[in-house]
Symmetry: C2
Subunit: 350 residues, 2 copies
């Protein structure tokens, strides 16, 4: 028995080893159950190491500490004038309009010259209170955050130099978070990142063959088979990804075709918040020390007409270490089948 697979369910262990190809990105994943039973020489640290005792007292994202952060580019206030959500420039940006290659660095490139890392890097502070996950804020508050995602996309799409905006969230140390106060990040690029290029290629090739949206067809089959379905609500469905890179990787999609997250209505933001809240509550049940990345995938600016894309959220719990296998090949090994994961999430009582 896989201990993680048997928790809270009556599933029996069936060894599975198969190679799956993600239909959108072309990414290959090996589903290999049974590897979780490997011996280990290491006393594996908890995925959530101890937090600094002073984390909350010194938190730059809490109400009252606004002077510790750069001036906001956007603030959302409640009815009595307190801020609910703040968007600020990242103090440690990966890309920024004002960062340039120093003349004095003397770096010579063997081939393609180094380019300026043009772009923008923002932080969305999602609560004035010091809470850590989406499940600790109200669905209404979460809906506001999801509207702010949309509004930052709208904002950056007016910059003619920006081609793609990656919005993501790191929750927990194992997912790369450095500050625990609930927040997301917005990175605006002057090019389409490789991961999105792969997905656009997959969507475009499928469209040329079938004259239909790849993700719409994929979704129809998921809703028909229901073997990977986790949750449904209104115009949204959540299911475990067929070629999930990590155990419990779950995607949330609009069931009606929508390429562009900028088209999300306020009502839809509320439904989406309900689904995201429920899925994360379920993930906390099956993974009590949940660390995860949330990724928003949407059509790049200027590509709206080139192929039908279909925006969605990807939730990637971080439970296994990437090792030489993944770094060397670009393949992933997932030790829990998405069908088993979906059954456990479907049954998880929240």
């Amino acid at each position: 028995m896989l201990s993680c697979a048997s928790r809270g369910s009556e599933l029996t262990y069936v060894p599975v080893s198969e190679l799956r190809t993600d239909p959108i990105s072309g990414r290959k994943v090996l589903i290999v159950e049974g590897r979780a039973g490997r011996p280990s020489d290491f006393l594996v640290p908890s995925s959530t190491p101890a937090r600094q005792a002073a984390a909350e007292d010194n938190c730059p994202f809490c109400v009252g500490a606004e002077r510790q952060t750069p001036s906001p580019s956007l603030e959302v206030f409640d009815k009595v004038g307190n801020w609910q959500v703040r968007v600020i420039p990242n103090k440690y940006p990966a890309v920024a309009a004002h960062l340039t290659i120093p003349e004095s660095s003397g770096v010579q490139s063997p081939f393609s010259p180094p380019e300026q890392a043009y772009g923008a890097h923002e932080v969305i502070i999602e609560s004035a209170r010091h809470v850590q996950d989406v499940t600790e804020i109200s669905v209404e508050q979460l809906a506001t955050v999801l509207q702010v995602y949309r509004d930052r996309l709208k904002h950056w799409s007016t910059d003619p130099q920006i081609r793609y905006v990656q919005i993501f969230k790191n929750v927990g140390f194992a997912a790369g978070a450095t500050l625990e106060h609930i927040h997301s990040q917005v990175v605006a690029f002057p090019f389409i990142p490789a991961a999105l290029e792969n997905e656009m290629r997959g969507a475009s090739e499928y469209y040329q063959r079938h004259q239909r949206c790849l993700v719409c067809d994929l979704l129809a089959q998921e809703l028909d088979q229901r073997t990977r379905l986790v949750f449904e609500e209104g115009q949204f469905a959540a299911f475990c990804a067929y070629a999930g890179r990590q155990p419990y990787e779950t995607w949330i999609l609009p069931t009606k075709h929508q390429s562009d997250y900028r088209e999300l209505s306020n009502d839809d933001a509320f439904s989406l918040a309900k689904v995201l809240n429920q899925v994360l509550r379920k993930l906390h049940v099956v993974l009590p020390e949940l660390s995860y990345n949330l990724l928003l995938r949407t059509v790049p600016f200027g590509e709206e007409e080139s192929a039908p894309y279909h925006w969605h959220l990807e939730i990637v719990p971080r439970t296994t270490h990437l090792a030489g296998f993944e770094w060397g090949t670009g393949l992933f090994i997932n030790p829990l089948s998405p069908e088993r994961a979906a059954k456990m999430l479907l049954e998880a009582a929240v």
Copy 2:
């Protein structure tokens, strides 16, 4: 000052933020120094967590414990008949000839059907003694290991179903190692993994334009500029990768053109062992708790004539967590410039 960048050198801190494209794979990396100074709420665990007290006593790879492992597919003995290196099938394989998709799993794919994970997964045990890193075995022993790499490639190239063999090593918990006893892994695939496909595409496009080997040209420029050079010995050179994904990412290459690692002579294996030993000693100086992945890149079987590839070793120290940024975009953020890293490694006394 970046504390890690100032150790043992008189470098002053110059902020750099640039976008670099790896000339072979096309991978994009942002070099963003200064981010290491970000605040953290987490008490960051050591990259090497405590080892199990019983690790050495229960080690299945130690001399005397041979019965705990599957029968070897290859053994190398010393002059008095003791084994020096053993190759065994991995007890927890990611791919294997005998693993099949169970008929009963009832998995239905939305599009491409799941395939059988055909292949082979072996472990190379690199010492009879319980040591953990390459720097703890002799250069002669390491040369034998590097010859075994070559011989496993030769072996698997006789299987007409196998297209690529990825040989890699995980050292330390942060690099995904589960057992500490020194070993490498061999994974034989019936297809060319995505990471290699990207590199072959880059090499082929360059060849079509210039009728020369991309890596030979790259190497000539590195040896001329010497801004990223770490070590030279005989027919081999080590330098920090121009678009390194992680701080101190170091590549070792033959300075004369050689596409295929299977062509490595025994004399060359000895020179290569000397370089690998020196580079790892230097890495241990700058990163006292070194965890790393070692990746062998060589031409896929059957592609020897299609484009000039140039085999090499990639050493990727694992010092930063991959977060939503990397998972979402396929880009990497490297907080230490390869030029600064190379200077520190060049100066590290071993």
